[in-house]
Amino acid sequence: MKRRNFLKQLSGYVATGLSGDIAALLAPYRSSPLASLLVPMDDAQSDHLKAYGVTYHVVQAGIKAEWLLNYRGGSFLLPDGPAIRRDAALAGVSVEPVEESRVTAIRGEIEASNMDAVPLEKAPKVAVYVPPNAPPWDDAVTMALQYAGIPFDKVWDFEVLGGKLPGYDWLHLHHEDFTGQYSKFYLIYAGQPWLAEMVRFNADAAKQLGAATVPALKKAVARHIRDYVGNGGFLFAMCTATETIDLALAAERVDIAAAFADGTPMDPEADAKLDWSKTLAFTGAHIEPSPQIASFSDIDGHQVNAPARRQPLGAFKLFNFSAKIDPVPTLLVQNHRQVIPDFYGLTTSFLRSRLKPSDVVLADEEGAPWVKYINGNHGKGTWTFFGGHDPEDQQHQIGDPPTDLSLHPHSPGYRLILNNVLFPAAKKRELKT
């Protein structure tokens, strides 16, 4: 079910269609209707990332939870019950039993401050766009979902072009290169078996799906994803996917791929032929014309693989929004840290000068010409872009050992990813402005 549908049905929502196993949990979840469990998300929390999983499971079981925006780092309020306590204990998540009177006091504090309580009513159905042969440890969102215990399906070009996206509430993209140039990895990794496999895999897919070239295939996939958002889907993208999906959309009618990718050189007039009305987030960017430079365009501020342009990492700061007026951006920046060390990706950041005026900046590096984390609407849906590859591996290189999130249970960067996963679970309210 997509956002527009479940928003319509929120008022009359009942937990129909739950599996037998989950339904069996309902009784213990509801055994103590008067008391509540507060999942603190400030420094009192022993595992911030798994707290999202515990909350997701509650909502998945058809139980209403609340997200207390800006209250103790963006805490969750859950109904008390042995099953929830058990889930929390197994996950190592700190919970605080709170009596009704304390809940009333919390609500009073929320009412009087820049805070809000957002009901969480439906566990979103999550899809992660990833090639079937990709290892699970090379994608920050996949790792976060697995660690938090949030279920997801993998989809790729066959599913996207086969019309499967409308079955999901939330779609994640990570380091896919939608320009079809294999992230220009050949500049550094020519001869590596994994790269040869990536090329073969994509070329086979293009052939099977009737696309003339891999860049043509990826453009078609990008258009399907844009349509999915336009029809009410939630899109969250990181790393290269952010920049290249917009480039692929803008280049619907122009060749921006180098000869190694599609057999023909890039159109020398490509820049002039880009159509930015087709894109989600960016406008007016210049394509990197040289196949010798590991960069796609001037959207990315850091240009990690173009030595002459590479910028050093700093730290980015989350914006403080009005919880009652702007609940969506407020929800997306819930965190126990306001300033977070930056981390590289093939696309690390987004130049301010390349953002569309309608984009909402959620985090930036003060004084720098780039921003880190942005959000916006397209049609009936929402997209969120987060630059960088792995928040706990600042200089991620191919072949690096996988990040073990049990060693980073308080990661503020990974929290931003998980904010997005729960975002579609939040009940929409009318803006007060």
Binding site: A89, L90, A190, Q292, A306, D404
Partner: protein
């Protein structure tokens, strides 16, 4: 244009101010069109500025002004290729080759420019054309090898490297380094290609180094050895390199081939005495490490007979002789050597005494082990005395000696082992406990099966019930040992963990036993049951120190974090 102007260009370039640097270089070239430094500088800075097209007129002017200058021809050639003007590039290269028919440079520059443009197939064709034109079958072997490697043709790369080595033997390390990265699937094919027929000595050395790096030391030595059959300085150097490469691996086979290489090196080295004796002493130690004491003795005898061997080599050899005796079980002979051999250093003597005591313990001869270290007041000596006291059942003495030894005796593993034993002894309410000492001695002797039985018997002598006065801790140790044995003993371990969890009450042994229980079940592929135990542990003993470990095990079992 004065020299300082181009110097300013370099400074700007180093500071990343390419625009300004380009201006300086262009101005220099206007005044002096054949200024190579300026032309090369311009080539460097225009590329990242995406203005390479501006280089072409400058390169054309320079080449026209000085048509025989190879460096200027090279710039022009590279520029045409980078600008994707292949016909012009070809024309420049062929004119250059016609003017210098015996020179490799035109083809090499042309191919390198194509390679820079990632046109690997075209670069390869150019090199092959050059090889034919020059009439030298070995020409461009290294470049062709690298191109083959980049295109994933590892056998082609191996073939080219082997051919190139005949003209340039000094490239052997580069060849081995490049081919070592071959994926697993290509390695056997490379090895077969390099060892087919009658390979040259250099090809044998290449194959030997590769096989050594790929974890096949014995096969590596078999391939490598014929290449050093004829004594020469070159063969000695190759042997030394082979031995050094083998030392990077710690398997018995790798140690053995290292020993063989060192022993052969000692035979070939031109200076008997110093280097030869030291190599033999090293070879002996490697043979001992590989478990081949007979070979070690044979080598050591040659050192002992070598009157010209330097003192350090002699000392090394004497120490290796005693080590060989200890490791070979000739403990009395070793003890006599220790007592009488005046060529052993004091440090070596102390270390060997500890080694001898440990060997005595392994045979159960605690009296003579004790006498070997009785007067040793070093921390290592105190730690060993602690173990001997423990095996005699004198628990209180053992604790005192372990405390006295502190955390710095031996390596980290040994320190951890002593701390774990201290934690166990603190649970046992007795100053003396012969049955426990005997059980632990069996464990030290490697008799795990009987140690399990003895530990269970010892536990039986302690009080039952909650707390249990050390009983659950001894059963836990028995269970841990049994869990590492065969399937039948693993059943015993499961029963022991079950007993501890259900009888040990609130003590630390119960959660620790449940964690071991889950780990054993996980090893036996009973993942669901293992997860049930881990969940029970976490929920039942939330304050236990092993809960974080249990959570990680649970995450691993669920696949939520990497297995590594």
């Amino acid at each position: 244009m004065p020299a300082q102007a181009i110097g300013q260009g370099f400074e700007l370039e180093r500071a990343g101010q390419y625009e300004q640097a380009a201006g300086i270089y262009l101005a220099t070239l206007r005044a002096d069109p054949t200024n190579l430094s300026a032309l090369l500088g311009l080539e460097r800075v225009l590329r990242p500025l995406n203005r390479l097209g501006e280089l072409l007129p400058a390169a054309q002017r320079a080449a026209a002004a000085s048509p025989t200058n190879a460096a200027l021809r090279g710039v022009l050639l590279r520029t045409y290729v980078a600008l994707n003007e292949p016909d012009s590039g070809r024309a420049v290269a062929l004119r250059w080759a016609a003017a210098a028919p015996r020179d490799e440079a035109p083809y090499r520059e042309w191919a390198m420019a194509l390679e820079d443009a990632h046109r690997h197939a075209a670069a390869r064709d150019v090199l092959l054309v050059g090889r034919r034109a020059l009439g030298r079958p070995g020409a461009f072997g290294i470049e062709l090898a690298e191109l083959s490697r980049l295109s994933g043709d590892w056998e082609g790369a191996a073939r080219e490297w082997a051919a190139a080595l005949e003209d340039a033997p000094v490239q052997l390390p580069n060849a081995a380094s490049a081919l070592a990265e071959a994926p697993d699937a290509a390695r056997e094919r490379i090895a077969r290609l390099l060892t087919a027929g009658t390979p040259s000595p250099l090809t044998r050395r290449l194959a030997g180094e590769l096989l050594l790096g790929w974890g096949q030391p014995q096969r590596a030595w078999a391939v490598f050895e014929p290449s050093v059959a004829t004594p020469s300085a070159d063969a000695a150097f190759a042997l030394r390199r082979f031995a050094d490469l083998a030392s990077a691996r710690s398997t018995p086979d790798a140690r053995r081939v290292r020993a063989l290489a060192l022993a052969r090196y000692a035979d070939l080295t031109p200076e008997p005495g110093g280097a030869a004796a030291r190599a033999r002493a090293d070879a002996a130690r490697a043979f001992i490490d590989a478990g081949d004491r007979a070979a070690a003795r044979a080598v050591l005898e040659r050192v002992a007979q070598d009157s010209s061997a330097p003192a350090d080599a002699q000392r090394l050899a004497q120490r290796a002789v005693v080590e060989a005796l200890i490791d070979g079980g000739q403990l009395d002979t070793a003890a006599r050597q220790l007592a009488t051999n005046g060529r052993l250093s004091a440090d070596d003597r102390a270390g060997l005494r500890l080694r001898l005591a440990r060997a005595r313990i392994a045979t159960g001869d605690l009296d003579r082990a004790d006498s070997a270290v009785a007067r040793d007041s070093s921390v290592e000596g105190l730690a060993l005395q602690g173990w001997i006291a423990l095996y005699r059942g004198r628990l209180k003495d053992a604790q005192g000696l372990f405390h006295a030894a502190g955390p710095y005796a031996g390596d980290r593993h040994e320190a951890t082992e002593r701390t774990a034993m201290l934690a166990l002894l603190q649970q046992v309410p007795a100053e003396s406990f012969r049955e426990l000492g005997g059980a632990l001695l069996l464990l030290a002797q490697g008799d795990s099966l009987h140690a399990v039985q003895a530990l269970r018997l010892a536990a039986g002598r302690l009080a039952t019930g909650a707390g249990g006065g050390g009983r659950p801790d001894l059963l836990l140790l028995a269970g841990r040992v049994a869990a590492r044995l065969d399937s039948a003993q693993q059943q015993t371990a499961l029963a022991l963990f079950d007993e501890i969890v259900h009888t040990a009450g609130e003590g630390a042994a119960a959660p620790a036993a449940e964690l071991e229980w889950a780990r054993l079940l996980e090893r036996r592929a009973q993942t669901a049951e293992a997860m049930r135990h881990l969940e029970h542990l976490i929920l039942t003993y939330p304050g236990s120190a092993v809960v974080p470990e249990a959570r990680r095990e649970l995450e691993r079992a669920k696949g939520a974090i990497p297995k590594s």
